[in-house]
């Protein structure tokens, strides 16, 4: 096996000093030479382990083969058969838990950098401008409403439009893209990429309507009974921020990660006063949590002018849910990680501004239902950390608005997620399908995109078999 190349080709990154002062993208991507060199490392396994580990089963060896041959456009076409958002996923997928995590090369050496290769070919396609829009063969009369323009909604809309349906995307915010525009920062996922995807999908004939909050502007029932939509896909995500519910959490200077990131990303508060929306970032910032959201908040705070940013996490480095690459970037940028501490109370000054977070030390106990060891507080170990700003990033759950305002749409009591069939995405309400974070709880871009894609198949099936008397029974009972 003389051709084994143990080390992965590095991807260029902006130097730390430069990147902590700007919101420009940190990772610069492979050049064509680098991509081909990295692709050369791939053994093109006849029975690949990476493909089953990919949530949407991209034919990874096939696309890498095309890169080896220098046919980058062919490579991207292969990816797009299964994943319509390669430029996004190449940047934000947790590859170490998926394809790269199961790469055979990874057992002894560096795994193949599948994510970087995916990103490279997608960017290459965009640069050459050869994104061709296939004309839709046959138009179908039915109208489908897609609620939410996150990855699940975008992909579902795109698939349905290609099947010939008349599709409208309704989005409550003033920009399209869901978490991709309001949550994930520019330095990780440039907004232009999301915009490009939206433009592509509108070229397929999808109508995009912003400032339309389903449940208030129109209810789901009205969309179906009065506005003539034959089916609906709910891709409304998990946008409701959770707080711990501890004393002092409403003090000034304490943000939910959603508010902090929305001000920065959607409202461009980092460009205040050129943009009108302000943000307050003190010298010392504590971020509660250690997932992707926490990393994004911490790194944004640094770029918005904080001198010292701390991650406070109640478990240890091993249990962090953030993408490995982003945790590593955060550490490089000087973010401090404090493990096994959990806030119990906030203390404020006389004007109501937060000035200290009181934390308790934790230790790890037995594994909980997530398989991770449960953190247990160590009594009497409380101490205080001085802070000016706190960002709470302990998770999001779906907003209850649509379920509250719709007849017959069932919700899981505990997590507020919508009940939907795992295979067909059919909810408890006839004609309504749901996928992405609103069904799974906060998860990943690729899972949401995959859900949108598969749901489109069953929406198509439903619309073609609408007159079958037990069609909904069939879709909700499918295994």
């Amino acid at each position: 096996m003389g051709r084994i190349k143990p080390k992965a080709v590095e991807m260029a990154k902006r130097p730390v000093e430069e990147r902590i002062k700007s919101f420009d993208e940190v990772a610069l991507g492979y050049t064509a030479e680098e991509a081909m060199k990295e692709a050369e490392r791939c053994l093109i396994c006849p029975k690949p382990t990476c493909v089953p580990a990919c949530p949407v089963h991209i034919d990874i060896p096939a696309f890498i083969k095309k890169i080896q041959e220098g046919d980058f456009l062919a490579a991207v076409r292969i990816i797009k058969q299964d994943n319509p958002l390669p430029a996004v996923c190449g940047r934000v997928c947790p590859q170490e838990d998926q394809c790269e995590g199961s790469c055979v090369m990874g057992r002894k050496f560096d795994p193949i950098s599948i994510g970087r290769l995916e990103r490279f070919v997608a960017d290459y396609e965009a640069k050459t401008g050869e994104v061709n829009v296939q004309p839709v063969k046959e138009k179908k009369p039915q109208k489908v409403a897609v609620v939410g323009s996150g990855p699940s909604g975008l992909v579902c809309a795109s698939e349905l439009a290609q099947k010939g349906y008349n599709v409208t995307v309704f989005e409550s915010l003033h920009e399209f893209g869901g978490v991709l525009v309001y949550g994930i920062p520019q330095f990780r996922l440039p907004k232009e990429i999301v915009k490009r995807e939206v433009e592509y999908i509108s070229k397929l004939g999808v109508k995009f309507v912003k400032n339309f909050f389903v449940g208030r502007t129109r209810t789901l029932d009205e969309l179906m009974e009065e506005d003539g939509f034959d089916a609906v896909f709910l891709g409304t995500g998990a946008g409701l921020p959770r707080f711990q519910g501890i004393p002092g959490e409403n003090l000034l200077g304490i943000y939910s990660a959603n508010e902090f990131l929305t001000r920065i990303n959607l409202m461009r508060a980092y460009k205040f006063p050129d943009y009108d929306t302000p943000i307050k970032v003190g010298d010392t910032v504590a971020v509660i949590g250690a997932g992707n959201v926490a990393m994004d908040a911490a790194r944004s705070a640094l770029r918005a002018g904080a001198k010292k940013v701390m991650i406070l996490y109640r478990r240890t480095e091993k249990e962090m849910t953030a993408r490995a690459e982003e945790a590593e970037n955060a550490m490089e940028e000087g973010i401090e990680f404090h493990f096994l501490v959990n806030p119990v109370r906030y203390h404020g000054d006389e004007n109501g501004w937060v000035k200290e977070v009181e934390v308790i030390r934790m230790k790890l106990g037995e594994p909980d239902e997530s398989g991770r060891r449960r953190p247990i507080p160590i009594e009497g170990s409380e101490f205080r950390i001085p802070v000016d700003t706190v960002i709470v990033a302990i998770g999001q759950i779906p907003s209850p608005i649509i379920a509250q305002t719709t007849k017959g749409l069932e919700v899981h009591k505990r997590w507020g997620t919508l009940v939907a069939n795992e295979k067909t995405f059919a909810t408890t309400k006839k004609g309504v399908f749901a996928g992405g974070d609103v069904v799974t709880g906060a998860a990943t871009v690729i899972l949401a995109a995959g859900a949108g894609k598969d749901a489109a198949k069953y929406i198509d099936y439903y619309l073609q078999n609408k007159d079958k008397p037990d069609i909904w029974e069939e879709l909700t009972k499918a295994k």
Binding site: L173, H174, R216, T217, L240, L252, D276, T277
Partner: protein, 280 residues
């Protein structure tokens, strides 16, 4: 999908009424709900109460007071101009019923929020008493509109230039002392005013609703900027409110949270005014 300004008029010093072309908002709007708008592409999202919804013509009326950069910018737009964004209706509709005698109290910009409530309570068959308060008579808003609808209409000014000299609470106290049986009070305006109304009506056991106006971002329940404490629990005013039981609200917290961006608001307004001066 332009959100065109169809009509504009000044209704007091620094206060304007605008009618916006927004059929999608008008269709489902109910009293007590609000919209969020952005004046321009770099603008912030600001909440304003729906003053009137004309379902037939698809039009929404807003009334606003100039207090900072965004409202100033909005006030400079004219008929025919378009807003960048206009989202709604948002929030829970007010609970409107025939309660009997209802006193509706508005102070400062709150009078703009009060107006649609006065209309709604009146239409529901209540005996409607309005107390309109301001620092002086020049700052009183919507006098004609309110006095035309109200069964009884009172004015208070801090300096006594019109009506009773004093605060809206002084007028309310008089009504209570005069033995008028009040079934419900609805108040909206500066936080300190709402807090004082709440204190007074609590003493007299009168059910009181306030419409809270915390700083908001999305207005759809996804950020928590608008959180308020009601009955010791955290609520998101944009989806759980804006109406709350006045006797349960932590007004002190609301007042503090409204001050969070004082410095930045000042900076933004000054920059805007400088630009205006430079451009003539």
């Amino acid at each position: 999908m332009g959100y065109k300004i169809l009509f504009k008029e000044e209704v007091g010093p620094g206060a304007y009424r605008m009618i916006i072309d927004a059929p999608h908002v008008a269709k489902n709007a109910r009293p007590g709900q609000f919209i969020v708008l952005r004046v321009h592409e770099k603008g912030e999202r600001i909440p304003l109460t729906i003053s009137k919804a004309d379902k037939e013509n698809g039009q929404i009326t807003i009334i606003f007071q100039v207090v900072g950069k965004s409202t100033k910018h909005l006030s400079l737009l004219n008929e025919g101009d378009e807003l960048a964004d206009f989202l709604g209706p948002l929030g829970m509709p007010s609970e409107i019923d025939n309660f009997g005698t209802v006193v509706l109290i508005g102070g400062g910009f709150g009078t703009a929020v009060l107006y649609p409530m006065v209309v709604a309570y009146k239409e529901a068959g209540n005996h409607v008493i309005v107390i309109n308060g301001a620092r002086n008579k020049d700052l009183l808003l919507l006098e004609k509109d309110l006095s035309n609808i109200a069964d009884e209409y009172f004015v208070t000014t801090d300096d006594g230039s019109k009506g009773l000299k004093g605060f809206v609470t002084d007028m309310l106290k008089q009504l209570i002392e005069n033995g008028i049986k009040i079934d419900r009070v609805f108040a909206v305006g500066p936080v300190i005013m709402m807090a004082n109304v709440a204190k007074l009506t609590k003493e007299h056991g009168i059910k009181t609703i306030v419409s809270l106006n915390p700083i908001m971002v999305d207005g759809t329940g996804m950020c928590g900027a608008c959180r308020v404490e009601v009955g010791g629990k955290t609520k998101f005013a944009c989806v759980d409110g804006p109406d709350f039981d006045a006797h349960e609200v932590n007004f002190d917290l609301l007042m503090k949270r409204l001050r969070m961006y004082r410095k930045e608001e000042q900076e933004s307004l000054e920059k805007f005014e400088k630009e205006l001066a430079q451009n003539g």
